[in-house]
Each structure stands twice: as structure tokens, then as C-alpha cells.
Symmetry: C2
Subunit: 119 residues, 2 copies
């Protein structure tokens, strides 16, 4: 069964340092970061992430998220799971509802990788 397990810890350390444009990244680094970017590389998931992040308190209920799209509930749930498995999102279930929160640290790592030398 799934649990695609991308090892967010490894990403956290591997993606933070080499700015991609400064010197050639290793194959291992590329292999670790690519799945994260792949999880991001979808309009629905980008909007989901943005919706969650911009929501009051930094967290959003799944019941709210579906309304913004013309997609079925299983499809939304699927995209949320992709973001979850990639380590870009956190889920907390309270009662009947599921609340999502963005892992801003991972996002920041990706940005740092893609960005040119920030200095």
C-alpha cells in the first residue's frame, strides 16, 4: 500500500543547502527534490495549498476546500493525499472534519533550492 514516504527529514537537510544554480546538484539530491516539485506541479494542488495557507489560522477544513473546484470529492481527497504524502501538508482530524495545515518549512526549502544565491 502506498505511503510513498519521501522522507521529509532528508529533504529538509538535503534541499536546504545547494542553490541549484551555484553548483551541480547530485543525483541523490535531484531524486529527493523532484517528487516534491512533482507534487507541487498541478494547478489543483497549487490552489489547494494556497487555499489552506491563506485560510484563517493557517488551517482549513476539507469541507471548505472542495467548494472551490469543479471536481469530485474523491479527486480532492486524492490531491490532498498527494500533498500529504509529499510532506507538504499536515492533517489533523477533529471529529468528523479533517483540518489541513501547510508545512511551510518544506516550501521554504524548495524555494531556497530553486532560488539563485540569495545574497
Amino acid at each position: 500500500m502506498s505511503k510513498s514516504v519521501i522522507a521529509p527529514d532528508l529533504v529538509g537537510t538535503a534541499a536546504c543547502c545547494p542553490p541549484l544554480l551555484a553548483r551541480p546538484i547530485t543525483q541523490a539530491q535531484a531524486d529527493h527534490v523532484a517528487p516534491l516539485l512533482k507534487a507541487l506541479a498541478d494547478p489543483v494542488r497549487l490552489r489547494l495549498l494556497s487555499l489552506v495557507a491563506a485560510h484563517a489560522g493557517g488551517e482549513a477544513c476539507g469541507c471548505d476546500l472542495g467548494d472551490a473546484f469543479d471536481l469530485s470529492q474523491p479527486t480532492i481527497s486524492h490531491h490532498l493525499k498527494v500533498l500529504l504524502d509529499a510532506g507538504l501538508l499536515d492533517r489533523e482530524k477533529r471529529g468528523v472534519w479533517a483540518y489541513y495545515r501547510v508545512r511551510t518549512g518544506v516550501l521554504a526549502s524548495i524555494a531556497q533550492l530553486v532560488a539563485d544565491a540569495p545574497g
Copy 2:
């Protein structure tokens, strides 16, 4: 097919401003940025980009790039074309050789979108 035309100008302006985590991005913005991330979301293309950027003078000859991978020459050419069509790379043909250069501005736009408010 061919010429997938992602309108790099539009991306340049659309991706620069909203930090994704600050407020919900529009569907149009997501639709414009997702193909860029998709072009990035491949280990081979990440390494290609990094190799080109880190090369002397900021440009690299295609003949050098293939040596770093266990892939056929057409496959490398294909990945370079994907990066080219996405507007992440520039190509200049001098004599027999093709020289590639990273469009750092587009990369910076992506980073700015993904990044949290830097302040």
C-alpha cells in the same frame, strides 16, 4: 504539438507577486505556474539545469551534458527541449554545437512564488 508556448512574459509578471502562502492564488495563476513546476519536477531536468547553470560562463554545450547521464542522446535532447519550451532554458547554436543557458529570472519568479513572505 511543438511550441507548447507557456508565455514566459505572462509567467514573469503573474508569478512574481503572490507568494502563494499569503493569499489564494487564482486558477489562471495556478494554470500558468504548474507547467513550469512540471518541467522542473524531474531528476534529469533538475540536474541538467544545475549543470548548465554551474558551468563556466553560465552556459554549457550539449556535448558535455550527455556524459553525466546514463541516457541516450535523444532522451537528453528531449529533456532539454522540455526545459526550453517551458522557458527555463535558452539555446544558442554556434557551428555544430548547441549552447544552453539558464533563464535565471524565471527560476527566481518560481522561488518567489513558493517562498513564504521573506520578510
